[in-house]
């Protein structure tokens, strides 16, 4: 029995290349090398302004990382949503806005509360109890519950950033009818079109994952994004090489990918 699994060797090699690039650049960043990103995300710049407006209106901000479990197929999307919730919570604490976080799966409750509380401690703002709400198992109670919360609390800004599934249209439209300003972020290819059609500012696909690192402004996190750009160049080069060879009647790249 060989150590490598046939059919997954190419996957392993690509995996090691991608992770290796990220690892090397991150270590370089820890060693003091500076990385700079040229492309800015409008959605992140819009956040403070939106929250500021909510403060002026005296109405709360509603945030949800979306309806999937922490450890499932879209686990990392949800986790990224929770990471961004940390920055939103800090902004809310700093600007003095009330924040409500709705979670769709129960195991997110303690983590969301911990992040919420931590953000207020970091900003040195007193907080009695983090307002994290859970509504029940599955998308229907989550969607209906979020609408109810948005209406009853007269939410001014609604952010749905993370791994929303079919709960997205319900919450987004409910918030629109309540007159809330919306920022959406999603990396679920089925839901991205709805995000683009319904939100003022969006973080789509990879931008969601880059957003966390950009908000941290920590060079070792930014390094990961730069490393991904290098990996993308590698992928494009591989596609072009493969296509040129295939056109010439040589399927080496294709065969290599299938190992």
């Amino acid at each position: 029995m060989s150590l490598l699994i046939p059919g997954r060797i190419a996957d392993l090699v690509l995996f090691l290349i991608f992770c290796g690039t990220i690892l090397v650049l991150t270590l370089q960043a820890s060693g003091g090398k500076k990385f700079e990103l040229k492309r800015k995300l409008a959605a992140l710049d819009a956040m403070p302004e939106a929250i500021g407006r909510a403060v002026e209106m005296g109405r709360p901000v509603h945030y949800t990382p979306g309806g999937n479990p922490l450890y499932g197929v879209r686990g990392t999307h949800i986790q990224m949503g929770l990471v961004i919730s940390g920055y939103v919570a800090r902004l809310c604490a700093r600007l003095g806005s009330k924040l409500i976080i709705s979670v769709a799966t129960a195991e997110q409750i303690p983590l969301a509360e911990e992040i919420y509380r931590g953000a207020y401690i970091a900003e040195k703002v007193p907080l009695a109890q983090p307002d994290v709400r859970f509504y029940g198992k599955g998308d229907p109670p989550f969607g209906a519950g979020c609408i109810e919360t948005i209406y009853k609390e007269r939410v001014a800004v609604n952010m749905i950033i993370g791994g929303s599934g079919s709960d997205f249209p319900i919450i987004a439209e409910g918030a629109f009818r309540a007159g809330a300003f919306q920022i959406g972020g999603n990396a679920n290819v089925f839901m991205i079109p709805l995000v683009v059609a319904s939100c003022e500012y969006t973080l789509i696909g990879e931008e969601l994952f880059a957003a966390g690192a950009m908000l941290s402004e920590d060079p070792s996190q930014l390094a990961g994004i730069v490393a991904n750009d290098l990996s993308k160049l590698f992928i494009i080069a591989m596609i072009l090489l493969g296509v040129v060879l295939m056109t010439a009647g040589n399927s080496t790249v294709l065969q290599l990918l299938k190992i």
Binding site: A10, D11, L14, F15, F18, F35, E36, L37, K38, R39, L70, Y71, G72, V73, G75, T76, Q79, A106, E107, P110, L111, E113, E114, R117, F134, Y135, G136, K137, P140, P141, A144, G145, I147, E148, R177, F190, I192, P193, L194, V196, A197, G205, E206, E207, I225, V226, N228, D229, K232, I235, I236, I239, G242, V243, M246, T247, A248, G249, L254, L257
Partner: protein, 224 residues
């Protein structure tokens, strides 16, 4: 149909209409139905939770799979958040779930989202049919341009600018068509609801709902 079935059926369609009443406006009716949904499914969820703990956690433990004690401890630590002094410990069970999530996502990402996609992208543009050649070229150009559109470390100017623009165009076409595809399946759910609502004895509730909405419209006319 017994009178019992009729009553249940009327109850169900009444609640369904209360949910749909949100389309007209947010009201106490919708709130009522929403509270039923939330109460029902969190109760059901808690029951499922207890069952899962019993059958998948305590039963294997009782059968001698001692390592399940770790799962039980981790599960109990989730409740640490209820006590301010112990709150830190919720990070342990969440770290377990986050670690598994990251691992599962990372291992699936390369195979399904990269390798499989690359295999299908590497196509010949020198086949016998001209249309196939053009179509294959569209895929190659499209994939490369959209990847370039998501570049973060370089500014989109000079030679890169048109690439980014073409990428954006491809992205827009694909998002528009995906939106249209999502409509079909979602509509079926509403059709099924209405087939149910328009059958005996449920249609009586519709008359009632329409009457209520008309009354509300008239009342609002008067006040305004």
């Amino acid at each position: 149909m017994t009178s019992y079935d009729v009553a249940l059926s009327l109850l169900a369609s009444g609640l369904v209409l209360m949910i749909l009443s949100f389309l007209y406006r947010e009201s106490g009716w919708f709130s009522f139905a929403e509270h039923i949904v939330v109460g029902g499914l969190s109760g059901y969820g808690a029951a499922i939770g207890i069952k899962n703990v019993y059958y998948q956690g305590l039963t294997p433990l009782a059968q001698g799979q001692f390592w399940y004690i770790l799962a039980i401890i981790a599960g109990l630590l989730l409740f640490a958040g209820l006590f301010k002094t112990l709150a830190w410990w919720v990070r342990v069970p969440t770290a377990i779930m986050i670690g598994t999530g990251i691992g599962l996502n990372m291992r699936a990402a390369v195979e399904t989202q990269v390798t499989a996609q690359l295999i299908d992208t590497v196509r010949s543009i020198n086949t016998a049919s001209l249309t196939t050649n053009i179509n294959n070229l569209i895929i190659v150009i499209g994939v490369c341009c959209v990847i370039m559109f998501f570049f973060f470390s370089t500014e989109s100017k000079g030679a890169l600018k048109p690439v980014g623009i073409v990428g954006r165009y491809f992205l827009m076409i694909s998002l528009g068509s995906s939106f249209a595809y999502a409509v079909m399946g979602r509509t079926s759910l509403m059709i099924a609801r209405f087939q149910d609502l328009l059958s005996y004895p449920n249609y009586y509730t519709i008359f009632l709902a329409v009457a209520l909405v008309l009354y509300d419209i008239l009342k609002q006319r008067k006040t305004s």
